[in-house]
């Protein structure tokens, strides 16, 4: 499923905070139809890297490319407009609104005509939300009327992920998509992430849940002390192997490093 040109790519990104080198010369590629997992211990530079990928931080050096074109991501909204969707750990959902309202939160479809700038196209949004959710085989008790806050953590996570998939044109980045979820709920979210990959988007996950990483990742990027120590693809990653890479950055294990 790996096409030649990455949908989303970071080249030689570096970021310094004072004297601390948070990220040094890191490159990552995200291909359509592939799940790229970024792992590393606390302080390895994951969150700084992700913030640069989502426009929340400007890199000191390096460049970001979307479908091979150099882009500047001014802020997360700008990144979103350019096709980079992020699923935040805190989900960015409104618990007091229904599923449909959340799928379109901040990007409501509007009606035509006078006052159209301000009028919600409710039917259209319900229809689109239903299509998107059933296309991803997400089964929720209701799409309208019931507050999202009345649903389970897994259901909410699925709504957040489905929303990102709905809006993304290139890549969906997910920060700890299974943290705070039970076993069965994690299962559902993991399968949903795979379906999104199979729909032809590039997917990036940042996670500490190594069994989940081992299961999902088609492409593994390991950070250590702000530097990329491994970049493995097409491997069957095992949890002990990933753990060793994170803790020791074992260069012997870096088979198939990208040029």
């Amino acid at each position: 499923m790996n096409s030649d040109k990455p949908a989303f790519e970071a080249r030689n990104l570096s970021k310094q905070f004072g004297h601390i080198e948070a990220v040094v010369d890191v490159g990552v590629t995200f291909h359509r139809g592939e799940i790229t997992a970024i792992v590393g211990d606390n302080g390895a530079g994951k969150s700084t890297l992700v913030k640069m990928l989502t426009g929340a931080l400007r890199p000191d050096e390096g460049e970001i490319l979307l479908d091979g074109e150099k882009v500047v991501l001014n802020d997360p909204l700008d990144a979103r407009r350019k096709g980079v969707e992020v699923v935040y750990q805190e989900l960015a959902l409104a618990p007091n609104l229904d599923v449909t309202a959340n799928v379109f939160l901040g990007r409501e479809l509007r009606r035509d005509g006078i006052f159209g700038f301000n009028r919600l196209a409710k039917k259209q949004m319900i229809e689109s939300a239903r299509k998107e959710l059933s296309g991803l085989s997400i089964n929720l008790p209701s799409l309208t009327g019931d507050e999202l806050g009345s649903m389970s953590g897994g259901q909410r996570q699925c709504v957040a992920v489905a929303r990102a998939a709905y809006w993304a044109s290139s890549v969906v980045l997910m920060d700890e998509p299974t943290s705070a979820l039970g076993l069965r709920e994690s299962r559902a979210v993991l399968d949903l992430v795979k379906r999104i990959r199979d729909s032809g988007l590039a997917v990036g996950i940042i996670s500490h849940a190594l069994p989940h990483v081992a299961e999902l990742a088609d492409h593994l990027v390991v950070l250590r002390h702000g530097r990329k120590v491994s970049d493995l693809r097409h491997g069957d990653f095992s949890v002990p192997q990933i753990m060793q890479l994170i803790l020791e950055g074992n260069p012997a294990a870096t088979v198939g490093v990208e040029a």
Binding site: L77, L97, L105, R110, L120, R130, S134, T144, G154, D191
Partner: protein
């Protein structure tokens, strides 16, 4: 509201990872509530009918057409402001400067008329000045990030001060028959202020439920500080600013109507009215913490307060009864709101 299941198509076979298991326990009450519009207001409607029944047994004057129209007029001055206060609370905000803005606006109308301005010009100046107050509130609260309580209480004193400056401390007579008509006249047998109130309730209800602004107000109030709404890309600051401008504008409008009704502009008037307005809104089921509420509930809340106020006057129970009632109603509403949203004993 219809309940749409995404499983109708053949694409969504119930799969092992299907999450619907999580919600197997059917919450019938919640289902009932969400399927019957306004069902959450049954309690209030019952209270209103009950109070109406009791009062009508105690005094024969209550059900008189004229008395009911009087209640409507009295309620409309607070109702106009309460409608938009509903939206302010839903958006996680608070505006305590509303009563002062009402007095300020009435003072401006009276004084500009006194200085020879025509009614439309006087009203336009009053509304413009009111909107400006809301704009300053909104900028300080949403762009400056300063606590709404502190800003609007401060603004309340400032605005009263301006009102006293404008009137020179006098109670200024409103001579204009046009402005008086707005407060005292009637149209098709219904007092003009009641028409205004219905229009404002309709407008705010329309904004809340069919427009992008309303959707955003609910989203902003749904999480503390509007944090999630910001992450979702909602222009939180601009939406909040809108609310404070609308709040002051409604207060300004109500102030003009009050000036027409009382035929005076009084810088000292309407003190404390903001709490009675808030009481109506909270009684109507709008959450103090934001994110929840309807204008229909608010309409019932202000009507309930208006009816009981009226009964206290008809029965000659005196001012103490009015305060006792308002205090009790406000406390009960806040306690109920707290238990409903957070639970007893939890902060």
């Amino acid at each position: 509201m219809s309940t749409v299941e995404p499983t109708n198509g053949d694409t969504a076979q119930p799969s092992p990872d299907d999450l619907s298991v999580e919600s197997e326990e059917p919450n019938r009450l919640r289902k009932l509530r969400s399927s019957v519009p306004g069902a959450q207001h049954f309690g209030l409607i019952g209270a209103l009918l009950g109070v109406g029944f009791i009062v009508s047994r105690l005094t024969p004057f209550f059900w008189g057409t004229q008395n009911l129209l009087n209640v409507g007029t009295a309620v409309s001055f607070t109702g106009i402001v309460a409608a938009i206060t509903t939206a302010v609370l839903i958006g996680g905000g608070l505006d305590l400067s509303i009563a002062a803005v009402m007095a300020f606006s009435g003072a401006i109308v009276a004084v500009t008329l006194d200085n020879g301005a025509s009614a439309p010009v006087a009203i336009a100046i009053a509304l413009g000045a009111s909107a400006l107050v809301g704009f300053v509130n909104g900028v300080l609260i949403s762009y400056g990030g300063i606590n709404a309580f502190v800003i609007t209480v401060g603004m309340q004193f400032l605005v009263r001060g301006f009102a006293f400056r404008v009137t020179g401390g006098r109670v200024v007579r409103v001579g204009s028959s046009d402005v008086r008509y707005l407060g005292q006249g009637d149209l098709l047998g219904i007092p003009v202020p009641v028409w205004f109130m219905l229009a404002v309730f309709g407008l705010v209800g329309w904004l809340l439920h069919t427009t992008v602004w309303g959707r955003h107000w609910y989203a902003i109030g749904g999480t503390p500080g509007g944090a999630m709404a910001r992450l979702a890309g909602i222009p939180v600051k601009r939406r909040r600013l809108q609310l404070y401008v609308l709040s002051s504008l409604a207060a300004g409008l109500s102030g003009v109507l009050v000036a027409g009704f009382t035929t005076v502009g009084d810088a000292n008037g309407l003190a404390g009215l903001e709490l009675s307005i808030l009481a109506g809104v909270i009684l109507g089921g709008t959450a103090l913490m934001g994110g929840r509420g309807t204008v229909f509930g608010t309409l019932l809340g202000v009507l309930l307060i208006g009816v009981i106020d009226n009964a206290i006057q008809l029965l000659n129970y005196g001012i103490s009864a009015q305060f006792l009632f308002l205090g009790t109603a406000l406390l009960l509403a806040v306690i109920y709101d707290h238990i409903r949203t957070e639970g007893w004993g939890k902060s």
